[in-house]
Symmetry: C2
Subunit: 404 residues, 2 copies
């Protein structure tokens, strides 16, 4: 149930903060030996587990054997497999957070936002009028999955065309704009800016725990996922806000053929979870047990980033991106971004992923993002125990060239 | 929650058997007006809802907010997103039913069997050695989704090549063998039988309620889905039993790129449901409240088929497939198949789908299955109310040519 990838569970072993409590079914956390492999390659958002544990049964959902047998959630909806309660809670949450406009948009639910990316590419291709596959671009450093997701079945409808900065082909194209960017957390704008382009805004990280919310996004096609919003990656729920009804219809068609809809259980649980975090943002609904979810996340990430910056400054071997102070409409404060990933650059010309691997820390190389081997992406969303062990081990880095 | 596609809910209206009870949140069933559109196009398996309702809370599952946040179910398993409990229950069920060998197989879970079909095509293609897409065939009448699932993104890895009976191209090919067949319920064998072929056995309907279980299937690649086994189509859970570890690994890769795994909630609920039906098959575990699921399903389908055959015989306008009497190892009786679909042929040369549509009965035309417009596929798995209304309306058919 609470498998942490690559974490080796050894009861009673020492953590950075001394002897950690023994893992039990109740707390279900890995006790990491000092020399455990720390996997910060994936962005597995287990950091938020502590928030949900504290809530206990406040957002428990139950399924009887006779619920949700049908393929259909609402045959009258264009997105016939979208659970009405999830649609309602998605709208409420965006309205409370102020990160996206929902009026005038169709909602398409997907099995995570990966499926929605493919659904969008399918929907925006036009094989009747364009015999060649449409080019798909994104500015480096781009989300490492875009090339593979675009090309894995060698579609004749769309194909990966690399870094948007270097895109010089004629004709229609799709530009993926990830904002805040994965891997580097920076707010992005489109870079190609030509007439025949369609923009897809991947806003997975446009939530207050990661970045200041400066205005409600109102782009034509916007993608979100519960994985990065609340941490429930195992549920595989993403959603798209889509202005054009024909694009939405074609996305629904893709999901119909690909998986005949999306898990009803995940959708119903996601609806409950979104409801709880919306409640957590309300002064009137909130209880002493129910912390504001986004403030909790922001606080937690701020603490982690502080620790990381201290080490980076002290050892002088790496650089991190800098983020501007901006007014966040949600918190009502001036804040800086505290992204889900640290995009770290070695000051010397070495294979940075290899360097970290030498310390049993798994990261993702900059090469995977269309960038350089001097960079790595490090997940900031692991469980406390893993993050603490990472900090402890990272703080012992003394030099680069000799890998120690 | 219990949306029946196209069913128009009108409280207190008359059904074929008189005034049906009013729909309440508890029984949550549509009351169909006499002239309702009856949608028997999809194979939405809502028939089994009555079984699960009777069980009450016996297979209720609960999710707290902190469960299953991670992408990973078991990082040590080749299929790292497969919940261990689901794997265990799949094996137990096949062993109890005797419809498939599990020893020596890898289990790959998918978001329904549609995703697994695509994962198999991806896994069996070999772009390094075969620059042209591999041909995918199936004997008519084939499952209507195969052509679309194979070709919808115009993959360069695989392409639909139609009826296996007419396949005359050289080189490697994939033959989909659906047994029992969808649409016609017949037990199938491969038809191409050439050296470079790989067979994929789609065994979605190889369960005792539909057909006699004559031996445990032990083909190289076998696909199953909970939708047709227990009726939980909304959960989108399918599984593949795969002998070759490299094929399994490539299927896992497909699902990783396509949707980064499969809903944990659906998998855990599916595990519970499979556990309950396995228990229902055991004399020692069974309780008075827990009927043998497959006997219940078989009985229900036998009754429906009896009613249908009486009408077909009486009006003399159509023919139905005939099935042999066979010994079923599971029930220990000689039985005939009672398939999930009626594959009905008009004796006259008319568009049979149009004929039924004239009576507000939605069916799927034989053309969709690579066959003839004289055929339609009619779902036998609707709720009792819909089936009863269908029977009532169908029994009033008097002629074909004039559509009445």
């Amino acid at each position: 149930m609470c498998g942490s990838d690559q974490a080796i569970v050894t009861k009673g072993s020492k953590s950075s903060s001394g002897v950690v409590p023994e893992a039990t079914e109740d707390n279900c956390r890995p006790n990491l030996p000092l020399d455990a492999i720390i996997n910060l390659d994936h962005g597995d958002p287990t950091m938020f587990e502590s928030y949900w544990r504290k809530l206990g049964n406040a957002c428990t959902v139950t399924f009887t054997g006779y619920q949700s047998l049908s393929y259909f959630s609402n045959p009258k909806n264009l997105c016939w497999f979208l659970e009405p309660k999830l649609e309602e809670e998605i709208k409420k949450l965006h309205n409370v957070v102020g990160n996206a406009t929902v009026e005038g948009y169709r909602i398409v639910v997907g099995t995570g936002s990966s499926q929605l990316i493919q659904a969008v590419l399918y929907a925006l291709s036009d094989p009747l009028n364009e015999p060649k596959p449409i080019n798909v671009v994104s500015a480096t450093p781009y989300y490492s999955s875009y090339p593979e997701v675009t090309d894995f079945v060698r579609s004749g409808l769309y194909k990966w065309a690399g870094d948007a900065h270097n895109f010089d082909k004629d004709g229609p194209y799709i530009e993926m704009v990830t904002s805040p960017s994965n891997p580097d957390g920076v707010i992005r704008e489109p870079v190609v800016n030509r007439a025949q382009g369609t923009l897809v805004h991947d806003l997975a990280y446009y939530w207050p725990q990661y970045t200041p919310i400066t205005s409600p996004a109102d782009y034509d096609i916007m993608l979100f996922t519960i994985s990065k919003c609340t941490g429930h990656a195992g549920s595989r729920i993403g959603w798209a806000l889509v202005k054009d009804v024909d694009v939405a219809r074609k996305m629904v068609k893709f999901i119909e053929i690909n998986t005949i809809g999306v898990s009803k259980e995940s959708q119903q649980r996601a609806a409950k979870i979104l409801e709880v975090i919306t409640d957590s943002c309300s002064q009137t609904v909130r209880t002493p047990e129910l912390d504001n979810f986004f403030e909790y996340g922001q606080h937690h990430l701020t603490e982690r980033w502080k620790k990381l910056k201290v080490i980076v400054k002290r050892n002088g071997l790496f650089t991190l991106p800098k983020f501007p102070l901006q007014y966040c409409n949600f918190t009502g404060d001036f804040t800086k971004a505290h992204p889900a990933f640290a995009w770290m650059k070695c000051k010397e010309d070495v294979d940075c992923e290899e360097l970290f691997r030498g310390h049993k820390i798994l990261t993702r190389s900059g090469k995977r993002f269309g960038s350089d081997q001097k960079y790595v992406r490090i997940s900031m969303l692991s469980r406390d125990e893993e993050f603490d062990l990472f900090v402890q081990r990272f703080s012992a880095f003394h030099g680069i060239a000799n890998g120690n």
